[in-house]
């Protein structure tokens, strides 16, 4: 039971573009002291965007089946672009690298990214809900 080629292509192109943007941000933003600012910015902004995107796509499909168009956007932007843009391996690697050298920064970086990531996703969901309500009234 292979996956549809179309789905894989959407995920591939989205993932390639997201990875490229993360790479460029990594080149532009240097670490602030020991704190890995580039990965932090990428993961928090990506968490906000996924909340906004999935809430918007979900809000549109409430009570109805998800359309092919919505499913394609979810695969391209959500699974592909934002999945490729954000990264857990670099996050874990940085925590491991900082741990033995500056344990306080390592712990702060880990806790701050996880907590603010969840907050950013919740804010994204909230903003999507507000903007779609405004549009409907």
């Amino acid at each position: 039971m292979p996956l549809p080629k179309r789905d894989l292509l959407l995920v591939f192109i989205g993932g390639a573009l997201g990875t490229l943007l993360r790479f460029f941000i990594g080149q532009l933003i240097s670490s602030s002291g020991d704190f890995p600012l580039a990965t932090f910015v990428v993961n928090i902004s990506g968490s906000f965007a996924i909340g906004f995107l999935l809430a918007r796509l979900g809000a549109l499909s409430e009570g109805a089946a998800v359309s092919v168009k919505q499913r394609n956007w979810k695969l391209f932007l959500g699974t592909g672009f934002l999945g490729g843009f954000t990264t857990y391996s670099a996050f874990a690697f940085e925590i491991a690298a900082l741990g033995p050298v500056v344990p306080g920064v390592s712990l702060l970086y880990a806790a701050l990214t996880i907590v603010l990531g969840v907050v950013a996703a919740l804010v994204g969901i909230w903003v999507a809900g507000n903007s779609s309500r405004r549009r409907n009234t």
Partner: protein, 121 residues
């Protein structure tokens, strides 16, 4: 190797990583808790990041490190899906489950980075 070619290879590797993640997500045997697939992807990706970084530093040119870790493994693992899954657990007031998921994923990923490095070097 030119900068442009390196960027292109990183992008292609990231796309391939995203496709690998989507494939595992789709065929993951446990369907009722979607975050378990993400947990598997992020912990295994962290192990591979430690392993490949170690192997490349010791045996291979560093440009490969960018293509494999920044490209493939960066595209394979995801932070956004994890944040969204945690946010939806929080919205359903499943705080213990959210905490357990977040902490398990973090600790195992960091341990697996060390394990990968240790095996490689």
């Amino acid at each position: 190797m030119s900068q442009l070619l390196v960027a292109l290879l990183i992008a292609v590797a990231g796309g391939a990583g995203a496709v690998a993640r989507h494939t595992i997500d789709t065929f993951f045997p446990i369907k009722n808790k979607p975050y378990l697939a993400t947990l598997f992807i992020n912990t295994s990706g962290s192990f591979l990041a430690g392993l490949s970084f170690g192997l490349i530093t010791v045996y291979l040119p560093t440009v490969l490190s960018f293509i494999i870790t920044t490209g493939f493994l960066g595209g394979f693992t995801t932070f956004s899906a994890s944040s969204f899954q945690l946010a939806s657990l929080v919205q359903r007031r499943r705080f213990t489950e959210a905490g357990f998921y977040a902490v398990t994923q973090l600790i195992f990923s960091v341990i697996f980075v060390f394990l990968g490095l240790w095996i490689a070097i």
